[in-house]
Symmetry: C2
């Protein structure tokens, strides 16, 4: 297998650089955009003045490092392997422990599509609290914490810009639950990153095959592509065949944390029959995926049985797939949602691998009509309770949010979330601020995403132009990611993130001085900027 669409040289004028840690033997990757000098003619004399390079946050991993040759069949270099080896609170298992995982492993017919390099999973040693949150609470600054502290600053301090983001600050935010470092001990390929309102706004991208469409190669390709353009985390929402094997390929080749919705796979295991779902099947799925290296699970534990009746008053009912599955299960069995009743056990499993939980908003509004209604806000209260439970287990928590919300109702979402969920990071889909523009929902939602991110949402989930119409192709992924980079960056500037405006100012200076190449190279999508310019100027001279 081969990734065709990534060119290591496709950020022209840029270099991959690494900044060393001071507490730990780590190297933090960034991209440095080198600029041409300013040239002026003063009194007939040509004067040139150097322009400082601009350091930008880089999510593309070693795919854009010319010194590293990536072999998709071998997976990415295991960046955190040494850090993990040094730890005494982990144990290396001799084999995977989920029933399903073992069944797939034994199935010879899967050999042709199997990722060849297998790694025995790690797990917490008996009785040890190993999550980033547990360590932070013990006052420990982990390599991951130092890594993200350096990463967040984009070398701004070297330019004399004061930053509040130190390794100690990271530790304190993680300990308080205000920030999450999704870093499953079985996904050492990922570069550590942090999600929290006092850090750069992050964006998540969704990929995933469906029964009808894409195969493994295409999914890996999309995953790398979305990181290349700026995706900070990646959710694999696959629902078709070979989910287990596809996921292995993605995780082994993904430089950013990977999230999933485990109930999707659990449902595949019972042939899509909601009534046949059981806690045991779900539990085994959690272990299966945790041992592969999934960094965070979306779990719809707040969608309760009572909600099933309440949503009758809505225009668009329940649009979250996970929320719909779990409320249906509850009604069919006349029991409470098993994710809610087994939440303590869930947390015990997650804590063993340091998988973060992203508490799903199964009752998110599917239209601006249903925004901020009682179903939505009652679920948010439940997510607040579950947050406290997760934190008791040292499990890191994200809270998922809507969805479809008109502008004047956005602030209430943010304020209630902070209040009810004790400042756990908010992670929202958009929100879309109007429903009348299918084909342009990356834009209807970026308008809302920029606002809610400015107010304190830590991560925004991208929306592509195909939302509500079709699955995105590569070009849609690119458009979705860039649109959300814009929303996130606009929020970073408004929030006053240290040095966030440096790149804008460098761009504006280049624009004022007609340094076209620097303008292209500084832009979020250099290829697009250059293309538009060249197309229109090709007839000029």
């Amino acid at each position: 297998m081969k990734i065709e669409n990534i060119d290591v040289n496709s950020y022209p004028g840029s270099e991959k650089v690494y900044i060393d840690g001071k507490l730990h033997p780590i190297r933090v990757a960034m991209r440095r955009v080198n600029l041409t000098p300013t040239v002026k003619i003063i009194d007939g004399e040509k004067m040139t003045r150097k322009n400082d390079p601009v350091y930008v946050y880089d999510t593309s991993g070693v795919y854009t490092d010319p010194d590293v040759s990536v072999d998709i069949n071998a997976g990415l270099p295991r960046l955190r392997e040494e850090w993990l080896e040094r730890r005494e609170d982990l144990e290396q298992l001799s084999h995977i422990t989920s029933d399903y995982g073992r069944m797939r492993e034994a199935d010879k017919s899967l050999d042709p599509i199997r990722f060849a390099h297998r790694y025995a999973p790690r797990r917490a040693a008996e009785g040890r609290n190993i999550t980033q949150m547990a360590l932070a609470r013990q006052g420990i600054i982990t390599p991951e914490m130092e890594y993200v502290a350096i990463r967040e600053n984009n070398n701004a301090e070297a330019l004399g810009i004061k930053s509040h983001i130190t390794p100690e600050f990271v530790r304190d935010e993680v300990a308080a639950g205000r920030a999450v470092i999704p870093a499953n001990i079985n996904h050492p390929e990922a570069e550590p990153m942090i999600i929290g309102k006092n850090f750069l706004v992050k964006l998540n991208t969704n990929i995933g095959n469906s029964a009808l469409s894409s195969g493994i190669e295409e999914e890996v390709s999309k995953a790398v592509w979305s990181c290349y353009w700026g995706g900070d985390t990646l959710m694999d929402l696959s629902t078709g065949d070979n989910i287990h094997e596809t996921r292995e390929w993605i995780i082994r080749n993904c430089p950013v944390p990977v999230g999933t919705v485990p109930v999707y796979q659990a449902l595949e295991k019972v042939d899509g029959k909601v009534e046949d779902l059981t806690w045991e099947i779900y539990r085994d799925t959690l272990i299966e995926q945790a041992e592969q290296g999934v960094d965070y699970f979306t779990i719809h534990a707040g969608a309760l049985r009572a909600h099933a009746d309440m949503v009758q008053e809505r225009l668009t009912g329940i649009v979250s797939r996970g929320g719909s599955i779990m409320t249906r299960w509850a009604v069919i069995h006349d029991q409470e949602n098993f994710l809610y009743t087994h939440f303590d056990e869930i947390c015990e499993i997650l804590a063993r691998y340091d998988v973060a939980v992203s508490l799903g908003d199964g009752l998110r509004p599917g239209s601006i009509h249903d925004a901020n209604d009682r179903s939505q806000f009652l679920e948010l209260d439940v997510l607040g309770e579950l947050t406290e439970i997760a934190w008791r287990h040292n499990v890191q928590v994200l809270i998922e949010g809507p969805g479809h919300v008109p502008m004047h109702k956005i602030r209430e979402n943010m304020e209630r979330q902070i209040d009810k969920c004790h400042e756990a990071p908010f992670y929202t889909l958009g929100p879309l601020t109007t429903d009348i523009a299918p084909g342009y929902d990356h834009i209807t939602s970026a308008i809302g995403a920029a606002q809610i991110a400015w107010m304190g949402t830590a991560m925004i989930c991208y929306v592509t132009p195909k939302e509500h119409l079709a699955l995105p192709n590569l070009e849609d992924v690119r458009n979705g990611v860039i649109t959300y980079k814009i929303a996130a960056h606009a929020a970073d500037i408004a929030k006053g993130h240290p040095g966030a405006q440096l790149r804008d100012d460098a761009m504006s200076k280049a624009r004022f001085e007609f340094r076209w190449k620097d303008q292209f190279n500084l832009s979020l999508d250099p290829a697009r900027a250059r293309q538009y310019y060249v197309e229109s100027h090709k007839d000029d001279d």
Copy 2:
């Protein structure tokens, strides 16, 4: 000449409808989107329930009325001709009165590119105050006022939705200067529309050839195209040859108000030499354009000589072309900007034709770095003074605004504008909320436009994906207009415009019921939505 790109049937499921006035013999055009019924199977029985049609604001003029055949060479039907004929405060001139206009008329070499149907211009009868503002102040409800009152409501009242927008309300807002109806008495082809914070948010599109690029046919085509997608007003920013003739073609075929920046043409008349500009040439240009039917002029009368020094402290100096021309003129001549010193005379001319003035922001920031600086805000104070002068002449006023503004600095722009400019409608370009995404500046700016429109900006000027890189083609115009329709509509919903959310709710219901055709037909860009859907589903069955 022919407009190739507009198909009267391209809004499928829609009908052109007209609502009659009660005070005046007027017919107000709207588009009605007819919906398919909801079909449910209940107890084995097929139940259908009708879905009410949705009325939407329509800027496309008779181009989308199958009962009207438009001949570009003859121009649009003159909707307001009868209204104007009935008035006793106007005089019909026997010929045009500008020197330049007469010179072009006498030039036989222009015959091949001349718009054939000439109309003698109208002007205020001696001593009469004829503007919509003058009439409103006298307590008169004009046909234009009743027209916009009906138009703003999209038939919502027939559905039992209360609206504050009555003809009386329109009159009061225009009298107070809080709203503008740009309606030159020499542009009777345009359908009346209103710009004010208590009305639907409007969007302006810019077109214009440059010396290098497009010809008359392409410009007319772009003008109609932008109205077709939803442009509420149109600025013709042409700078090349034959500006006078191009403008005539555009105005005669344009169903929305047309604006210009007269100093662009004045500068062409002196071969681009700023030092040769004179008040006399500019004055003649105003009369020339007013008699052709331009509905509003952007006039950079607030860019003063003192600004030329002040902008040294900026990163990107003066980026407004008009602002740059006028400050340069002032420095060269060591005199104050002649648009400022002659502002009373300018207003006397504008008042005679009911041309509105759009006070240009010559000192708008060209980068988020320069946003909200003292140059910008000192100019805003001057625009406030000029507003009072214009109002003394009964000239309707818009105030132009930035530009490039990070999110946290947007509110100050709106609040100061309201305070300093006495609630005259604000008309902003974007603002762009970050500078790092050339190729996507329709999006960087829609994020800002939606916010400032929600806060009270009455009209937003679109930005296309090619901003800062190249001139837009037809597809860029489409993307720019739809993006700004989204921003405007999101703001209308947030502001609580009566019935604004009806279309969203109809869309959401269609979505929940999988009525795909209705979803396409209700969307801002039905063709795009359908295309994305069909492309991805063509292999399905």
